[in-house]
Amino acid sequence: MFIVIIGCGKVGVNTARSLLNMGHEVIVIEQRKSRYDLLLEELGDCLMFGDGTEIWVLEKAGIGRADLVVAVTGDDEDNIIISQIAKLKYAAPKVVARVNNPFNQPTFDLLGIDATICAAANMLRLIMHELPAHKFVPLLTLKRENIELVELEVGETSPLANQRIEDITLPDGVLLSAILRDGKALLPAHAGEILPGDYVICLLEPGRETELIRTFLPEESPEAIQAEGEIDVHSGE
């Protein structure tokens, strides 16, 4: 594959290294001269100096034949513009953009940039997962593919607690993938039954969370529980 990466900070350079090791053809564009000079020896012809939001720079990098465009600068407006140029002008088959400030996630969504990565939001999810008591954590969301991986607690009063796995029925669009018991994951076929205090990991279609939470945590408010797992984008930075 031919991959154009815009932004050669820590994220960009490590992405470039991994993709190069995998045998892909890579060009990284960096606009800070000092950063460019620092990495030139290592990356050689794979590194290009310039403003990756300028069309002529992207064209010189070969964006027209890119299989994947990765916009990982430290500036969210720049990442949005790069993604839009790649889609509007070059019909790039795949575009991935970095969201630096989680408060800008709704703007990426609004402008149709569907494959985004937000380090701050992902870190929050993994930190929630490490908390001794947590009820619901969205572990991974693949928006364009329309699938999510979530973790949730089996409440004492859950109608599914103490039921054998083969006897339970989950809401449509939800697949029980694993049971976490005493910190270890069990495949559903090996867990036997679901116990209160277990955590279940489910694959689901986005939008099924509310039904799923009602099933496992009937005494909780699904809206309040879901809000806990996301950065609140409405309460200032």
Binding site: I55, E77, I80, I81, T107
Partner: protein, 127 residues
């Protein structure tokens, strides 16, 4: 650019709100500026709410960043439903491309080029 445009519009009788990330920008507008002034960033939803852009008939972005202007104008058009959103974009290529997204762009570079061309044409040149 933003402050002089705001003052002109106020003089023409329009109801104007200016957004700037720096409080000092208010001094450019003058002590007697009758419009509103909101401190914040052009792509911050809270700031845009505070400036009540949803009620605006027109929205203009003139920050010194082309990309900020384009993203902000699209955001205001798509989310806040303002029909007339205009972005100042110095780069002619981006100015042309982003007209496709429904915003209007004004490119000082293109305008200056046209004016310079016209000025040369109006000179009485030999040959």
């Amino acid at each position: 650019m933003g402050s002089s445009l705001a003052r002109q519009l106020v003089d023409e009788g329009y109801d104007v709100c200016v957004i700037d990330e720096s409080p000092e920008a208010l001094t450019l507008l003058g002590d007697d500026f009758p419009g509103q002034f909101v401190i914040g960033q052009a792509i911050d939803w809270e700031t845009l709410n505070e400036a009540r852009v949803r009620e605006a008939d027109a929205y203009v972005t003139t920050t010194d960043g082309d990309n900020t202007n384009i993203v902000s104008a699209q955001l205001v058009r798509e989310h806040f439903g303002v029909p007339c959103c205009v972005a100042r974009v110095f780069d002619p290529l981006r100015a042309d491309l982003f007209e496709q997204t429904g915003i209007r762009t004004v490119c000082p570079t293109k305008d200056a080029r046209a004016l310079l061309h016209e000025a040369i044409g109006s000179c009485k040149l030999g040959g």
